[in-house]
Subunit: 614 residues, 2 copies
């Protein structure tokens, strides 16, 4: 691996110098071209297929490589490797807003402007004590106030440079984290960020008003090491350096959204003194550089439950170096701080109404209860709703079909994001196709294609049947967009996971669907689904539409509430302690409920027919 080759990625013309023998995946990573890979470049998923324009550039293609081209090795003089647009990690519809409750403005970080009397021979108080005395006059409880060592070192110079006119930033009434010359009291910002498995969303908040002044969002850069959490955990387990890589990527992601948001409103990131971070428990461990492997193996124990407060400089977050980075508390190994934030934002733990909350993602968290008691679980719904593991699936970016209707003439109507020729199907469209095929009896309740149905759109190839959603001459790639028997199975598995979670929680809480006062659906995916179709295939419980509310990205909104209100931060601790977690896999009814839930209309099936039919 001493010889080098230059690989050019079209159409962006991004180049990478790479040793001969590298894989295309490695070269793409080097060039900063993100190839979507579910397997993290291990050559398992086949999602990274690339078109080789100059076959000389790539060594003899093996059988394995033919299917999984991220594994192809590069020879010298490689040129023009093209990765089709739908295989690149591209900006997509990211849900950056959500339900938010008004909170009393009382952030943990405060600024106090003080004018100090100058020292004289009859007033020889040391610099810090002089400052503390003045702060105590301004009603600050300074008895237990500490000062950051870096600030202490600079204090004599700062005070004299500022001519004894300074603004002090105090963290949580117990630590001085900044002393700045002059009156900077109105320059007080915070950042609330949700590190999702696939996306990172951050709100830049003016802490003097409590208002979001700019938003940043990107794909989670960890995605190059696997789309789903488990692939990344496996990667991080091999050696410590790989865990560090994932931590660095998470930090890089947070820094990017932070800089994006700050640039929009020309705010110096040094004026950010508190960051509230939420994310699932694995993201929590990755971000903090804690080995996540014990979350992934039974009994799924995380390292820490309560909130952590770590200085920005220790984590390389590019705010004020002494800014505290608060990761909100988690609930369990599969119910993280994002879920705590969901509960903060929706207020479920505070109200009388019995609410079911489903935050749909690669992992779906489900909560049911009210102020008296909330029970929760997590289900591995998988990435099918994000377009992964689906033959022509893709994320909800421009060119993705997001709505599908099959009319009574069995003709297909589609709606595509960005009103361009379609490239593939995003999650909501796949659900629509499955629901619509079920309604038109193209498939049955078990998800099987109806063998009696004669239809031009139905194709058989090598024993597998597929349904053509869009003909090849109407697509951006010239290839047909189809849904296969396997795709239907993927959706069945995903929705069964969620359905099982809901039904077991309801059972344990001794509730029926009609007892629910509200159904909240959170998360980006949830925001875009066709509710009637989701209910029709049993993805979400069949409650009256007027009781259903799409609450959006409640994770980031909950983080923002904790950022602007100390009360909410304390409430997050209470939620973390009080909400009960149910380990679904450990529930005696799990297997029966899951088998039942695989049916597309489980509510229409009698229990004793499950096993016979499936």
């Amino acid at each position: 691996m001493v010889e080098g080759a230059t690989v050019v990625f079209k159409p962006e013309d991004k180049k990478a110098k790479t040793p001969i023998g590298s894989t295309v995946f490695q070269a793409a990573k080097e060039a900063g071209v993100h190839i979507r890979s579910e397997c993290g470049g291990k050559g398992l998923c086949g999602k990274c297929r690339v078109t080789i324009k100059n076959s000389d550039a790539v060594g003899e293609v093996t059988e394995a490589e033919r299917k999984h081209l991220c594994q192809s090795e590069i020879d010298s003089g490689a040129r023009g490797v093209i990765i089709p647009p739908e295989r690149q990690v591209a900006p997509r519809q990211i849900q950056v807003l959500g339900l938010e409750r008004k909170v009393e403005l009382n952030p943990a970080v405060k600024k106090v402007h003080v004018l100090l009397p100058k020292p004289t021979l009859s007033d020889i108080r040391p610099d810090l004590e002089r400052l503390l005395d003045e702060l105590s006059l301004q009603d600050q409880n300074v008895a237990t106030l500490e000062i950051d060592y870096e600030i202490l070192k600079q204090l004599p110079n700062i005070l004299r440079f500022a001519n004894w006119d300074v603004t002090v930033t105090v963290w949580d009434d117990h630590r001085i984290v900044a002393v700045e010359p002059g009156d900077t009291a109105t320059n007080l910002f915070g950042f609330a960020v949700d590190i999702g498995t696939s996306k990172i969303v951050g709100h830049l908040v003016d802490l003097t008003s409590g208002k979001t002044i700019a938003i940043g969002s990107i794909e989670n850069p960890q995605i190059i090491h696997g789309e789903d959490v488990m692939t990344r955990v496996t990667f991080a387990t091999v050696n410590d350096a790989d865990l560090e890589t994932l931590q660095e990527l998470a930090v890089e992601g947070v820094n990017k959204v932070l800089h994006e948001a700050c640039a929009k409103v020309s705010i110096d990131p040094c004026r950010i003194y508190n960051v509230i971070v939420v994310g699932n428990t694995t993201m929590h461990h990755f971000f903090l550089g804690i080995q996540p492997k014990y979350i992934a193996i039974s009994p799924f124990t995380p390292a820490i439950k309560r909130q952590t407060n770590i200085a920005a400089k220790e984590l390389n977050i590019e705010t004020n170096p002494r800014c505290l980075i608060t990761f909100l508390p988690i609930i369990a190994g599969f119910v993280g701080a994002d879920a705590v934030a969901d509960l903060l934002a929706t207020g479920i733990c505070e109200f009388d109404e019995l609410t079911l909350l489903i935050d749909i993602g690669t992992n779906t968290e489900i909560f049911v209860g009210n102020k008296n008691d909330v029970l929760c679980c997590s289900c591995a719904s998988g990435p099918a709703f994000e377009g992964a593991h689906i033959t022509d699936g893709m994320k909800a970016v421009t060119g993705a079909i997001e709505r599908v209707r099959i009319n009574s003439d069995l003709e297909v109507e589609c709606k595509t994001i960005g009103h361009v020729k379609p490239t593939g199907l995003c999650g909501s469209a796949v659900i629509d196709v499955v629901a619509e095929m079920l309604k038109r009896e193209i498939i049955n309740g078990q998800g099987r294609f109806n063998p009696q149905m004669k239809l031009g759109r139905l194709r058989k190839k090598g024993g597998e049947t597929k349904f053509v959603v869009v003909w090849g001459d109407e697509t951006a790639t010239g290839k047909e967009i189809t849904v296969t028997q396997k795709d239907v199975r993927e959706i069945q598995l995903a929705k069964a996971a969620i359905h099982t979670g809901c039904s077991i929680l309801m059972k344990r809480k001794k509730l029926r669907e009609e007892d629910l006062d509200r159904l909240f659906i959170a998360g980006t995916f949830g925001t875009y689904i066709n509710l009637e179709n989701a209910k029709y295939i049993g993805l979400v419980p069949d409650v009256p539409t007027n009781k259903v509310r799409f609450v959006g990205n409640t994770a980031v909104m909950g983080a923002k509430m904790a950022l602007t209100s100390k009360g909410m931060r304390e409430k997050s601790e209470l939620i973390s302690k009080k909400v009960r977690y149910l380990e679904l896999g450990n529930d005696p009814d799990f297997n029966q409920e899951f088998t039942k839930a695989l049916f597309l209309r489980p509510q229409k099936i009698k229990v004793d027919t499950y096993k016979r039919n499936f």
Copy 2:
């Protein structure tokens, strides 16, 4: 300065590769040969005189260089530069022990051995919460217990590696600073260290018994940048890198005594979890890397009064990286944490007895009072008692005369440290010479040589008179050891500073010498003086000898008390707040008192004769 020369320092044969144009001082520093320099190598003090064996090695000697050879520039091929032994910083008699009071054993750092139940599917508590729950069963208040981030990162691995059998180290009931596999509860050590201007002394303490198990001591390595505090402050003021140098030297010094002590008893420094540091306010600022210049200029304000607790890794102290380094509180710009420790060790602030405490050093701190009120001041007694600024002065190392008596035949009797041929006079000997000459009327009360006295030992040269203490044929160097008129003046100035401090404090407290119940004399120098001679020349007040106690290095003993007892640590804060500081230079009586104190027997002089005679 591109060409290099090799300089060899005899008799140790230490070599330095040094650029041509370097000074001998720089080359010596490079070779690790410590040349004693009062001026920090600036070419001002002339203390660094070296014998040049091969004059080719040194460029043309200028007039300035002839007197101050540390400034000589080195040519190529330099060889055999010899620095006479008395000009090297050599190990000396360091007072490592002192008065110590018994305290209840209750260190701020504690270890708790716990056996944790392993996680199961029915007990999914996260690692930290599992640990905290177990600690709370063992009576630890864990509600506010934080965990160090580095420990949190390793926690999942440590717990599993240790098979859930660990020992937790808790700092001050609020922070977990170590989690170690197995039962290490008996491996709990602390270190108490006094950073003096000229020496560093440290006690390694077993915190399970409260006993010192080893002691380390060295010269303060900062000494290469000046013997006295003010030279070092001036050095540190020029640019930030120089302040960093002094901080690094202080840290290096502490690390050296720490490693020395640990090596003596084969203790791993990683088992040290708390270090208590004391030192004067300038040493405090140097050690913490805080700009000390504002201590040196009116109104002499330090940066911080109360104690600081900083992690070892932030200061590069080579204990357990999460060991807390506690610098005890100070009182004022010239009354530091060493003084607070003196008060802790002597208990002056706790007892009824009216006590005068004098801690003699380059700066001398004086305290007077009892449990009701203590008043203190600092006087610039200078380095004369350490042998500096005295023609044939030297530190109290082997070869230094430490006792001198002039008998009625005017013959001189000497006692030399190490029973070798003498090299020079240490401070206690110079005081003896002055007192004895006064008794024998060789000098008068004004310190002037008696012009009527005819004596072989009295020499006149260029208008200056000097007294030969040892003839050349009886010394190690073959040169006479003398005391000059200027030397007598130096002693008068030094003792006047201390006398003035005592008398003004007594005046402000409305006390006479006979009101004092006790006189404590602390510090290395104080330990070795001839009390009667010190009283005779008015260096210390004339109280009955049975009321006088030499208390030794109370600074390090006070630090040790704070190390073994949280109560004492709290008491140090009280002392720092309660003890009143008097700025001598600001006192209206200062000039008159000082003028009076210059007389060698001020107690015998009437006030109205001062000005006429001096």
